[in-house]
């Protein structure tokens, strides 16, 4: 399958180890943005190309995924810290727009929730999964599992990615 190299390269990214430059190099086999299909909650397509030149933090989640919800406050905090640096935060679920809207209303996170329409094609191992694209549009981070995104090491990693211009 065309993503097998991606899996191998993902394996080179140390999940919970200290962040270093080697962890944020491009994952070359993933075409830029091509495999992620997003819409807004009204069904309008969102192209990640529109954010080119900016770092994109793309988090995949579900309303019923407890570790996803557990890390959302830290994503919310990271967004507040990093929005002035131009980092774009998107949180994508493959559930219905109604389910996502209901969740948004219930939890009141100040996050940009969007809809993912091709979850299976992305061959994720589970949820939450986070991709980070550098300003050149290269996917340089992919990981499944909970992180405290507000942690200083993670903020530092995102800032390092944001400097890859």
């Amino acid at each position: 399958m065309r993503y097998i190299l991606c899996t191998i390269l993902f394996g080179l990214i140390a999940c919970n180890e200290p962040v270093s430059d080697k962890n944020t190099k491009p994952i070359h086999d993933q075409k830029k943005f091509a495999t992620v299909k997003l819409t807004d909650l009204n069904g309008q397509p969102i192209s990640l190309d529109q954010f080119k030149g900016r770092t994109i933090f793309l988090n995949f989640w579900a309303t019923w995924c407890k570790p996803c919800i557990r890390e959302m406050p830290s994503i919310d905090s990271a967004q507040r810290l990093l929005s002035k640096n131009g980092v774009v935060f998107l949180l994508a679920s493959d559930e219905t727009p109604e389910q996502i809207k209901e969740f948004k209303e219930h939890y009141q996170f100040d996050l940009n929730f969007v809809r993912l329409t091709n979850m299976e094609e992305l061959t994720m191992d589970g949820l939450p999964t986070t991709y980070i694209y550098n300003p050149k549009g290269e996917k340089v981070f992919a990981e499944t599992g909970y992180r405290n995104w507000n942690d200083s090491s993670n903020i530092k990693m995102i800032l390092q990615i944001n400097n890859q211009k």
Binding site: C6, K66, P67, D125, T129, T144
Partner: protein, 406 residues
């Protein structure tokens, strides 16, 4: 149920409006044919079950802007019955990974379940059971499977006939819910548990047990009945977040301690959303599961000849990057068929209990076999039936594969 295979496949070809014309020299034991689906409108969450008489049942959920409706149809003389409503509601918890199931004994009794929110607008829900004693013509008032009274998550149900009754396993979040929980930021302080119960034909609980007090939150359970008694497989959860597959067995009136099927050592602090599936014939047991140790995603199959007490080394079946979502059925006493997904494509192969396997094939053509949710499979006398949710059209597709007994 005796099958007239030639008539069946001729009918399948006629009704399959989206299927490609049959090519000559197609190996029909490796080329499933699309057959008419009784769920022709917007539908998802299929589940397949074959009763002791060989009758196939397909259940699914239809959803509109207000309501969710659980329906089923059965395959009689190669034709699906008119879809019948099991239950309907506007406060259901509908999740592609946590699908309703249906089961029946060999007489007139059926059982099914759905998930209903404990309170509107919350993320806690109950397992509601409903039964029918007249071949599904009427269904009784749904009752809650568990009696903890907690606003918590309950789901990932498996139901299998067990003697005169039904055996049920499910994930139960009673220990994970804070008192008065279900509100903002969760109230999920304890552990997810797995429980099991025996339910009679009217839905009355006869017995209930906790099987494990710390398991993965978001993976399906799977149960089967061996000659020695019920067995349940599930994704376990260690203190260090290793989430491998465990089995518990009901032997001489007692549940065995959880035992790992195989030490994949997959560490993940997240939701794999990928439970195992088990199938049993006598004391021959086969388990299929997804794992991704060291980010090496794979689907394994392991066999037991002693009712699940000991398992062979696993056989890896996937060809490329897989997302799991497995199913498994015995074809005969030595051979299972296993399905899994690679990307959105549903694949299948035969695996033999001596560790050998055939090369895989795609269920239906590539474009038609693109699936969302969990593909399902069941066996009739002479065929395997597959069902999955069409990735694009958001409806359920069904295919049949002729199986040649060796």
């Amino acid at each position: 149920m005796r099958k007239s295979i030639s008539v069946f496949f001729f009918a399948a070809l006629l009704v399959s409006c989206d299927s490609k014309p049959a090519k000559q020299e197609v190996d029909i034991t490796r080329s499933p044919l699309a057959i008419e689906s009784p769920a022709d409108s917007a539908s998802a969450e299929p589940y397949l079950f074959t009763d002791k008489n060989g009758i196939v049942y397909l259940s699914w959920i239809e959803k509109d802007s207000l309501n969710s409706t659980l329906k089923y149809s059965s395959l009689h003389n190669e034709k699906w019955s008119e879809p019948a409503v099991i239950a309907s509601g506007n406060d259901w918890f509908v999740n592609w990974a946590d699908y309703p199931v249906i089961a029946t004994d060999e007489s007139n009794n059926l059982i099914s379940h759905f998930l209903q929110k404990s309170e509107k607008g919350t993320y806690t829900y109950d397992v509601k059971l409903t039964t029918s004693n007249d071949q599904g013509k009427t269904w009784g008032a749904p009752s809650i499977l568990h009696d903890d009274g907690k606003k918590a998550e309950h789901g990932f149900v498996s139901i299998v006939p067990y003697g005169e009754n039904y055996f049920i396993s499910w994930l139960d979040g009673r220990n994970a819910a804070m008192e008065g929980g279900g509100g903002h930021h969760g109230g999920h302080h304890g552990q997810m548990t797995i429980r099991a119960a025996i339910i009679d034909k009217s839905g009355k609980k006869i017995n209930e047990w906790e099987l494990d007090n710390r398991v993965c939150d978001c993976c399906q359970t799977s149960a089967a009945i061996t000659d020695n008694g019920p067995v349940v497989v599930y994704r376990d959860r260690s203190d260090s977040e290793i989430r491998d597959i465990s089995i518990v067995r009901f032997v001489n009136g007692q549940w065995t301690a959880p035992k790992s099927i195989f030490a994949d050592n997959w560490k993940i602090e997240g939701c794999p959303v990928n439970g195992p599936r088990i199938a049993a014939t006598g004391n021959n047991v086969a388990v299929a599961w997804f794992s991704s140790p060291d980010k090496n995603a794979l689907v394994n199959v392991a066999f037991s000849k002693d009712g699940g007490a000991a398992f062979s080394d696993p056989v890896k079946v996937n060809d490329d990057k897989t997302i799991g979502r497995v199913d498994i059925e015995w074809m005969n006493e030595k051979t299972v068929m296993v399905t899994w997904m690679e990307g959105a494509v549903v694949k299948a192969t035969k695996v033999y209990n001596d560790g050998k396997k055939d090369s895989s094939f795609i269920v239906a053509s590539t474009s038609e076999s693109r699936s969302s949710g969990f593909p399902q499979m069941t066996k009739t006398e002479n065929s395997m039936i597959f069902a999955w949710t069409d990735d694009k059209k958001k409806t359920i597709r069904v295919a049949s594969l002729f199986i040649k007994e060796n």
